[in-house]
Symmetry: C2
Subunit: 418 residues, 2 copies
């Protein structure tokens, strides 16, 4: 069978299973999550053995140490899978709620019902834990899923797939509700992301290259997560202590995350705060690249920023710094260079804060808080499947609700349109 | 200048204007809507003259009568443009609302703010009234727009574009907030629908061919509206009078709309209702195409339905009729053939109604009501830019809210992440 036909078959099986999952009670889906947990616990030895095959192959292929580390399953990582399955089972049901029912002049009552999306395709790199995380969130939200992990993790993913099938069957749900693709052929991805009839959304999980490749070629809608070039703007009316705490936290708490600060903007009315900010950042080991004015004022900033710095997501201990003229200057810089992920203003002046909140067009806009808070768990979503930099459907941290849609429901009593 | 560069320039102007429109007060946008109304009223003679040029060109090109009719502007159609501008001005502001602010354990307060999408591209056929309808809804929702109407209406659209510019300027908004493309070169569409940096959403308005062409080639997200193959299912527990009224209304009130009934499903427990239903439909001039059982029971059904009939949107006085085995049979038929637009059940049995509501995966699902109610005005949206058959972002009738997005807003007081 050709890869295209095989993927089409997976898609049809998923579509068919999706109707059963969508119509299931949440108690059944929670039972399945806990049965999957039990299956993983029972199969721990087999999982570790399968993972050893992957790791051995990776070592033979000289995979980079960071990639090998992500690939490894060990008892603590398996334990954290078990915990996450329990946590997802404990979350409230994201589907079925009926909302906003109103009676129209015609007499019909119209409202909306939250429903699963249907079939979700997840394309990810070689972290086996994503298999369980993605499966559990799709299942909880009443969706079927097709999981296509990186080829380096194929043995681990197939072993996890058997646990998923065991758990689903134990709860009386079709084993095809969550399918792990059993071939590493790359043509699978191209077939999956263009299977419009059978797949409702594609979620790529991984680096920027993967996401760009997929969103460029997909015809199925893609939940995209691209750059995080995040800004903190220190306003003239900023409290210096809050500015210092927020800038240090936003830049240094973790360097490799998409909500990490990459460019600091300082109002020319607050430049007296700049030398101390720069000193603290330098003391924390951050390399600073400044505009001419920043360099002139701050002894710790000796490298001149180039145009390219304003558009770079460093994901490293490097920070670009620029002096701007008031809120207008900050808004103009952000409009030009931000990736639309997260921006924060530090100010004690309420009207300035509210203008910043209103006029910055990013998925998260903050006042007097660290950009590092832009996260599904910090926002109380209970889970996070990704952070969307798109404006449509879901924007910012995406929890279970991002895996759902809604439909209009209409109650009549023989009503006809005049 | 190449078409690509010209469209890129339009896009940059729109992006820049979009920031001004997004930051404007709703009173300013309403002033602009009313000033556009005044400009159209003032320019009525010039508009009619421009439209005569289009109509003369269309007649010379032997445009089909239906197309010519859509192209014509006359005083009543201009009057209805004026009324619709007043109505949109009177609608509530769809942006700026802050919702669901909650305090997290970390102490930050997190909520969501409804915001404009940014720049919307509208690609439509040769109805000049769409120019004003689309412009008014985009402007009201705080967006900039680029309007690309059919080449047959170019003179009318450019004349309307001058009224838009006059009205926008009178209210102090950039004239580039709503731009009418001034060339009929088809390369404009290809450039516009791939201008990801400057355009946030494309809305195609027109026939299925146009929509398929655009959604196939677009890289910008498209608000799609495809087929309406709508079903009414007459359950064994249906009230015969309600079933008759709903079926007749859903099929015959208008034949050419996407929410018109195209396939009637009758439970085998309700077949005794079928001859009377068929008789009433035949009396109303509807051609009936039935499954073997329908034909055997109903003297008025003499044509056998083929497989193709179940998948056809007739948009004409033709109806496919099939006897099914209970709710399961209806759900299976709908899952296989429905376009996911609108389906309705006629039943007095509450659990059956609720299962239908829950399990049918369509943008509108109804109980004891005519499918013809699936409409933005009937649902109380105040306006309708289209009916989405997509599941993401907006589903079903789309009003002003479909032209908006939301962003997370976070209030801290120097909060940092632990």
């Amino acid at each position: 069978m050709s890869i295209e036909n095989r993927v089409m078959e997976l898609g049809r099986e998923a579509r068919s299973a999706s109707r059963v999952v969508a119509a299931s009670e949440v108690a059944t889906r929670n039972d399945a999550l806990l049965a999957i947990r039990d299956a993983i616990a029972d199969q721990e030895a087999a999982l570790l053995a399968a993972n050893e095959e992957d790791v051995a192959r990776g070592q033979a292929k000289n995979l980079a140490p960071a990639l090998l580390d992500r690939l490894v399953l060990d008892p603590p990582r398996i334990a954290s899978m078990l915990t996450s399955l329990e946590q997802v089972a404990a979350l409230p049901d994201p589907v079925g709620a009926i909302d906003g029912v109103r009676t129209m002049n015609s007499g019909i009552r119209v409202g909306k019902m939250r429903v699963p999306l249907g079939v979700i395709g997840i394309v990810y790199e070689s972290r086996p834990n994503v298999t369980i995380e993605a499966a559990s969130l799709c299942l909880k939200s009443g969706n079927a899923a097709i999981l296509r992990g990186g080829s380096e993790a194929i043995s681990s993913n197939l072993a996890l797939g058997r646990c998923l099938a065991t758990g689903l069957a134990a709860a009386g749900l079709p084993a095809t509700s969550i399918q792990v693709v059993d071939t590493t052929d790359r043509a699978v991805v191209d077939a999956l992301i263009t299977l419009d009839d059978c797949v409702d959304m594609i979620i790529p999980r991984g680096g920027k290259g993967l996401i760009e490749r997929i969103s460029g070629a997909a015809t199925v809608p893609v939940l995209k997560h691209l750059d995080g070039i995040c800004h903190v703007y220190v306003d003239a009316a900023a409290c210096p202590n809050k500015a210092l705490a927020i800038v240090i936290n936003a830049k240094t708490q973790r360097y490799g995350t998409c909500n990490t600060l990459e460019t600091l903007l300082v109002d020319e009315g607050a430049v007296e705060q700049l030398p101390a900010l720069a000193r603290a950042l330098a003391d924390a080991g951050v390399e600073l690249r400044g505009c001419p004015r920043t360099c002139a004022i701050s002894p710790d900033v000796t490298t001149a920023a180039t145009e390219a710095d304003w558009g770079t997501e460093y994901l490293a201990p490097i920070l670009a710094v620029r002096v701007v003229t008031g809120l207008e200057g900050a808004l103009a810089h952000i409009a030009q260079y931000s990736s639309g992920h997260t921006e924060s203003i530090v100010t004690e002046h309420h009207p300035t804060a509210m203008r910043f909140l209103r006029e910055v067009d990013s998925s998260s806009v903050m006042v007097n808080a660290s950009t590092r808070f832009a996260d599904g768990f910090e926002y109380g979503l209970g889970a996070e499947i990704g952070i969307s930099t798109d404006k449509l459907h879901a924007r910012g941290p995406v929890g279970l609700e991002g895996l759902t849609s809604s439909k209009y429901i209409v109650f009549g009593d023989g009503h006809i349109r005049q």
